[in-house]
Every structure is written in structure tokens, then in C-alpha cells.
Subunit: 514 residues, 2 copies
């Protein structure tokens, strides 16, 4: 492993009159012999005595890369090279997730998460931005909330492994531009205000102590490309290695906002746009976060709805992946039509409620026509981003080798359902890849491979930003994409096939019941 | 001036939709265009908003060299390049002296000093070392005292100039090894304990905030060569440029300890030894520091002693320069002989007191035979260091182009008197150079000339340390050097001439009185 840190065991000769070099020189020249030109922090200088003598001059040095040189940030008695740890953090607006790595083997020893304490100041990012705009004390509250959330996760990792955060040398953090601004204590209004020039997008290596995090070396924040394409996406590039491949990939991170990268080792096009909160259950009346009691799986059978509920108890609402399943099933069963309108004659479950149709997907829980409409606008926005960008680049869907879906959405959503409603393109299912938490994954990769630092400059230089909102075309495409799965059904052969099969089955059923 | 800091005025384009680079990127790329690849501190990132906008994107960046790259440590609105300051500090065991520089012109704007507050823990270094040995809280007291003393001088400089210390970017500090250890918070017992391997001798650039000093960038501590040859001596090399010259120079810093360097651009021999506290008035019964009431000049005329007293009032004691004058005058007048023994028949001022002879040099103030003996041992130790080292190198006194005497001693002592008693060699007086506070001078030079950093490595590599105490020869030479001016009178032709002139005068006077 050639990561951002080193642990090196030094067996040094004790000072004699003939060799009365300083402890500092003795250690640094031994490191030089091992190929590391390093400097020593004041903290380590203050530890030299009596540590060196007591340890019989058998010492382990912790080296941290600071972006331009190696820094000796910790010194221990004896050989502790086996205890070589580092941390990767995904700082999400809702959840903070961290992994503890053994930096000798590259093995992830534990992963844990916590809610981002900033939620107390607003569940969505914009509320937090307005809350703290031009108010340094409030910005400081948000900064502390972020740091506190990270520390909470690090403590959980310590409980799991017995390894204290101070035992880690480096911490690599990935987050979107707003999250990184808050984490650094920077006003984030710039992220959403024209001309969208943010304050800092390449903060690099900062001393962990300055950021109030307990690792012994530095915190590296993943650089961002622009206001909407933050470090979490760049980290996703590293996780998927999209920028190294010959084949063209699509990388799509869909949440309230959608971030998209299309490219390969030759080119990288990127863009971002608002998808709306529908995908996270935000607008849907009975929508909820993916927590206990949320319907996350839906199947519509002859016997009605079969539900998968988080925690297994009574359903309390429906989360993003549940909604997509529900829509796919309603569509395949013909309970909603191509335009997403309820077909009330199809089932008694479709009732009129509050002046519109709604389907009772669970006892007392309804999914309304307005929910469907909202959701379809969102899915149209999302799928149009991909369509538009491929069009701009003159790339057909058949040219795509891999279609990565990142984030919680990619992790939980059923591929089949997402294709059925036209959210994902209709392509070989093995090309549709759930990239998982690629932000966290990329943070870990960088922690363990210093060479990636050089590649990041290349990635950022290569990325060409494409504005979605600015084009008339875009709206037109989006209207077409609001159909289920799409106005142009030929793009969805597998969905057409399913529809045919279902209608055959239904005919059979009809025949049987007749 | 190409020093350790830069101030650069940047007129940046305001962000537009077409150029929505981050403020950080905007500033750093403008610096790159000016030839400076820099990184930005967290503190500056936090200042970007609203500063950049308010300043209409006309900003002045303060860059500090950190030993391996440029760091943007301060950002100001408008063009403040004219206010470009830096500090040089000589951290002495008794006195802390600092200079404030205009880093654009290289001009020293003010100099001031304060007593080192560590004196409260012991006037001599050894007491302080024992006080704090293995006692971190006491070491911390000493560290705070050093820092407090420096801050006090910086405040005095602010009063004189109106320029706050925070307006300076870098601070270069020179001090002996013990002083630098205390300043950094390092136990200094190692300096005096065999095998004399100190803890840190190349601390380099450390963030000023970590050292609790108010400059915006870094504190650079001059590196040391060994326990007794500290940063103050290396700084003296830079001040005198001895290591650049073709002719061979001697650099001699005499106090309680003597530090010596002999060499030129080809070689550098160095050594150090205890001279004893006599030179600083430490052992002499009526000796005192060079403060108000101290006799600093002595002339012996027909009418008796003519005294120069610091502050002009009644004499209270005698300081180093006064002692050397006194001895020279006593010797030339024949009141003490070649071996330094009082010749009581020469004057009624020589009386028996406390079982020995003593001369009353001022009303009620006596200089005893034991004082003379002690002082001659000290001067013998000092002059023998030079003699021994030149002997080792096969260099004759005639080969010496310049003989620098550094420190307070060199500043105040009369060259003539020092030659007369054999403390200095008998050479052309213009070759005997008072180097003044060369430690402070070298600190200032480095502040203003970054290239010197590279030269320091050369200097340290080239220096060859010669042990004085270890050689039998040394003691033999020292005994010979205890005579006035030296057992080998032929080395002191100018003193012989003076003696002859005085004896002629006295004969004339005798004849007149007869």
C-alpha cells in the first residue's frame, strides 16, 4: 500500500561522543535512508525526550503527506508498524459515513454512520444555507455540527474496533460543495447564487488539529469541479475508475439534485440539475425517509400489494425505492397509463380522495395522482439529463459500456423497476451498476493510494461542464420523458416485452375468471 | 528584496457565469501567473467572503515561505504591498533584541530589546536547565518566559513604529542551542550532558501560531551545529559572510562560553569552550553587569584613575569592558607585572586587603589579586582557543584577514586594551572587527534573502568541530597565555612598544620629580 501515510520502524544507534547528532537529525536521516525526506512537527520534537532514550532508540515514525512533503506527525516506542490506520469519510447532508482502514493491508476494518447533526438546522441544504448566510456565529454552529457528527462516527468505529481515532494518521473526506464549505466554516450562499463561483474548491490537506478532528496528521478534502459538482462526485470518479476506461460510462448520482458525468479516459462531460425532492420521498404525501416503517419494496400480484417494510413492522409510509417499485407495478398492471394517469376501473384500490384519484397501497396509506405527477416530473428531469448529455456528445445509448448509479438511490432501488418507469435506460442489466456510496469508496481509495492525487488534477482539468437549464431543447426533451417509460416506447424494448407478457397474463386471468 | 515573504497586489476579474472559478482558484491562479505556486491557509479561506467582493476583487496577498512552498497566510483589501514587514530576533540568555524590517526596501525601521524573563529562574543558563530538567511544567514556565520576552519587545517595536507584530509575515530567530530548546519547549539538559546530543537542531519553519507569536506566517529558527555551537553562531556566519570570503577569518563570540570559527569559503573549523563568567563581571568581587553605575572605561593618568561610568553617576562596580581597560592600564603602568601580580610599591592605591593585595580603582571599590588571577585564566582560555585552532589548521596569525569579535563583548571592549592584555592578537587594528550583535544581524539578513537558506546547509556541512578540552596541549598553551600579554612577548610588538613608551615617560616623570 502506497497511501497518504507511512509507518516506519527505526532502529537507531544511541548517541555517542563520536556520533552526537541531535535526536531530530538521527531520526530524519534514518528516514532519508529509507527514501523519505521529512520534516518534524513541534509536537513530535516535544516528545523526543524522554521517549527516544526510554525506547532504546527503537522507534516507529508516522509520516503524513501534506500535499508537498512528508511530515513526521507521531513517534512511538518500539515497533508499532502493524498498527497503521486511516479514515475515509463521506460527509452527506443527511448521513455521515466513515470507514476505518488498515493501511498496511488496505482492508476496511469497520464502517459506521450517524445522522448529520446539521439536520437540526434544516433537513434540506438550502435551509441551512439561508440559516447561516452572513451570520458567522450560525455558520460556526453548522461547522461544529458537521465536526461533531464526524467525531460521533469515529467514536462508534472506536467502539467497534478498539482503535481510537488518534491512532489514525490521515483522514480523507468527500462531500458536496456545500457540505465541505460548512465543514471548513465557509459561508455557502455562493453555491446557489449566480454566478455560482464558490469560495474554495481545492482545500487540499489541512492540519487535522485545525479542523478539530482527532487524527494525528491531515484531513484531505476531495476537490470539487463546481458548485453542483463537488468532491463527492470527483470521489465517485475515483471509485468507479470511469476516467481510466476505454469504454464510455455514465455516472449518475440522483437525489434532490442529480449529478451526471459521461466519459472515459479521453473525455469527461459533466452536469448537474435539480431533480426535486420526490426521489427522497420528500413531496409524496405519505413519503418518508428510508427508516423503520418505510415501504421499500412493492409487488402487485393477483392477491394485491405485497410489501417489504424496513424493520418488518407495520408500514408507516413509503420511501424512494418503494415509490419506484410501486409506480413500475402500477404501470405494468395498467393501473396507471402511459401518461401516468390512474385508470380507476382497473381496481377498487383506486379511489377518489381529496378531489383526485389515489391508490391505497397499504392499509390507510394512499399514493395520490399528484404524487405520481410530481414523481414523473422528477424522473423526467433525471433521465433527460442523461439523454441531453449523450445527445450533446453524439453518443448513443448503445455506446455506453457501464451505467453507474451512485448514492443511496442506486443502492436500494430495484434496477428492473427503475428501467420500467424509464428512470434508467433500457440496457443490459449487468451494465447497470449500483456504485453504492461511491463518495465514501473513493475517499478510501485515495487514502490507500497516493498516486491518485496526481490523477485528480487530470480529472478536474478534463471535466467539461454542461449547463442543462440554459437550453430550450432540454424542456422539450423533459416533457417527452414524463411518459411511462417514455414517449418513444421503442427505446424501452424490455419494458414493451413485459407489458405484452402482463397483458397476455391478464387476458389469461380474464379468460379464467370469465 | 527576495526574502522569506512576499506581498503581491492582485487585480482580479470578478466572477461571471463564463468564469465561475472559485475565489480560491481565482487568487491562486493569479499568483501562479506571477510565478508563485502557493497554497492557502484555512484562516485565509475563511476570510474570502465577504472580503473579495467588498474589495472589488482588488486584493493583496501575503505569501510566506514554509521551507518547501509558498503559503498564502494573509489577504487584505486593496493594495497594501507597501506595508510589507518582517521581524528578526536574537534570543539571548540575558537580553532579547528584535528588529522590525521593511521587507520591500530591506531597511531596519526600529530595534528594541528587553531582559529575558527567564532570568527569574536563574541568571545563568545552567540554573535554568537544572530548574526545568524532567519537569514539564517548569519547562513550560521557561518557554512562556521566552515567548513573553519576545512579545514584550515586539510590543515596544509597535509603540515605536505604529506597526503591529501581526503586520509582519515572518519572524527569523537566532539563539544558542539552549535558548532555542527552551523557546520550543524542549528539555535542554542534553546540551550539557555527555554525549551532548541535543534534541532538535534544525527546527526550521514552524507556524507562528503554534509558538504563540503574533506574526501571520512562520517562525524560522536558525539551525545549530552542535550543543555549544548554536543558531546564534550560524547566524553570525551569515552576518559576517565569513564562509564566502577568500581570506581566512576568525569569528569569536566570547562570553561565559567562547565560540570560535576559523575559515573561509573553503573550510570552516569551529569549537567552543567555557571561558568562565569573569568576562561578564561574574566572579570579580565588585563586578557587575553593564548597567547603570558600572565602570566601563578606565584610564590611569598621573592624576590617578579616570573612569567612564554608565549613566554618568557614582560608580557602583565594574563591568567586563571596564575590567579589561583596568587590567591594561595597570599593566602598562607597571602596577601589575607580566605574571599579573600586583607591584605594591608602584602606588599607594595598592593596599593589602582580606589577606591579599587589591587596587582601589574608585572610592571604596577594590579590584583584588584573586580577581586579576581569575580574569587572566579566562583571557587565557579565550586566547588559547584561537591559538590552538590556528595551530591545528597550520595557520599563522599573519594569514588572518579579519578577526571578528561578536556579541556584547566585542561591542563594548576597547580593542587597544584587549590587545594589551593579550586577549586579542596583536594585529592591524582595522582587521580587528567588532561584529556587534551578529546573531541579530544574521537573522535580519536571512529574513531579507531567501537564498541564504540553501547556503545554511553548506555552512553546516562544511563546519568541522574541534574539541578543545580533550587535548593535553591545550592546558600547556593556556598556562603560557596567562601572562600579560603572553609568555611569548614577541607576539605582541605593539604592546612592547607601548611598554617602552610608558617606561620612558615614567623615567621622564621620575627625573622631573627627582
Amino acid at each position: 500500500m502506497e497511501g497518504l501515510s507511512r509507518k516506519l520502524y527505526l532502529k537507531l544507534p544511541a548517541p555517542t561522543e563520536a556520533d552526537s547528532r541531535s535526536s531530530e537529525a538521527r531520526i530524519l536521516s534514518a528516514l532519508r535512508e529509507l527514501g523519505y525526506e521529512a520534516r518534524m512537527t513541534l509536537k513530535v520534537m516535544r516528545k523526543l525526550y524522554p521517549l527516544c532514550e526510554k525506547a532504546g532508540w527503537q522507534l516507529t515514525a508516522s509520516l503524513a503527506w501534506d500535499g508537498s512533503c512528508w511530515v513526521l506527525v507521531e513517534l512511538e516506542a518500539g515497533d508499532t508498524t502493524r498498527e497503521h490506520y486511516g479514515l475515509a469519510v463521506d460527509l452527506g447532508s443527511t448521513t455521515v459515513v466513515a470507514r476505518l482502514f488498515d493501511c498496511n493491508t488496505g482492508k476496511c476494518l469497520a464502517e459506521d454512520s450517524a445522522y448529520n447533526r446539521q439536520i437540526a438546522f434544516g433537513t434540506d441544504i438550502l435551509t441551512r444555507i439561508f440559516y447561516s448566510k452572513d451570520q458567522p456565529e450560525k455558520l460556526e454552529e453548522l461547522r461544529r455540527a458537521a465536526v461533531g457528527s464526524i467525531r460521533e462516527v469515529l467514536e462508534k468505529l472506536e467502539k467497534k474496533t478498539g482503535i481510537a481515532p488518534g491512532g489514525s494518521i490521515q483522514l480523507v473526506l468527500a462531500g458536496n460543495t456545500t457540505m465541505v464549505h460548512f465543514f471548513l466554516g465557509l459561508d455557502a450562499f455562493c453555491v446557489f447564487q449566480t454566478p455560482y463561483a464558490v469560495q474554495a474548491d481545492r482545500p487540499g490537506f489541512l492540519p487535522a488539529a485545525e479542523l478539530e478532528l482527532p487524527v494525528s496528521g491531515y484531513v484531505y478534502c476531495y476537490p470539487g469541479k463546481s458548485n453542483y459538482l463537488g468532491g463527492d462526485i470527483i470521489s465517485g470518479m475515483v471509485a468507479t475508475e470511469l476516467y481510466k476506461k476505454e469504454g464510455i460510462s455514465v455516472f449518475f448520482d440522483i437525489g434532490t439534485n442529480g449529478e451526471l458525468v459521461v466519459g472515459n479516459r479521453e473525455f469527461l462531460l459533466c452536469g448537474a440539475g435539480a431533480a426535486g425532492p420526490a426521489l427522497e420521498g420528500g413531496v409524496v404525501r405519505t413519503g418518508m425517509r428510508a427508516s423503520e416503517g418505510a415501504v421499500e419494496r412493492v409487488k402487485l400480484t393477483e392477491n394485491g400489494f405485497e410489501l417489504g417494510v424496513i424493520g418488518g413492522g407495520r408500514p408507516k409510509g413509503i420511501c424512494g425505492s418503494g415509490i419506484i417499485d410501486l409506480l413500475a407495478e402500477l404501470f405494468l398492471a395498467g393501473w396507471i397509463d402511459l401518461r401516468g394517469k390512474f385508470v380507476p376501473e382497473k381496481s377498487e384500490k383506486i379511489q377518489e380522495k381529496d378531489g383526485m384519484y389515489a391508490v391505497e397501497y397499504a392499509p390507510g396509506l394512499f399514493f395520490y395522482q399528484s404524487d405520481v405527477d410530481e414523481f414523473l416530473r422528477t424522473k423526467a428531469a433525471a433521465s433527460t439529463m442523461v439523454e441531453y448529455m449523450l445527445g450533446e456528445a453524439g453518443i448513443g445509448m448503445n455506446d455506453i459500456s457501464e451505467f453507474y448509479v451512485a448514492g443511496a438511490f442506486g443502492k436500494h432501488v430495484s434496477k428492473e423497476s427503475a428501467v420500467t418507469i424509464g428512470m434508467y435506460p433500457d440496457m443490459d442489466r449487468e451494465k447497470l451498476i449500483n456504485a453504492g456510496n461511491s463518495s465514501l469508496e473513493g475517499a478510501g481509495r485515495l487514502l490507500l493510494d497516493k498516486k491518485i492525487l496526481d490523477e485528480l488534477d487530470d480529472i478536474l482539468d478534463k471535466m467539461v461542464y454542461i449547463q442543462f437549464g440554459a437550453v430550450d431543447d432540454f424542456l422539450e426533451l423533459m416533457v417527452a420523458a414524463q411518459a411511462l417509460p417514455h414517449t418513444d416506447l421503442e427505446r424501452y424494448p424490455s419494458v414493451m416485452k413485459k407489458l405484452e407478457e402482463r397483458s397476455k397474463m391478464q387476458k389469461t386471468v380474464s379468460k379464467k375468471t370469465n
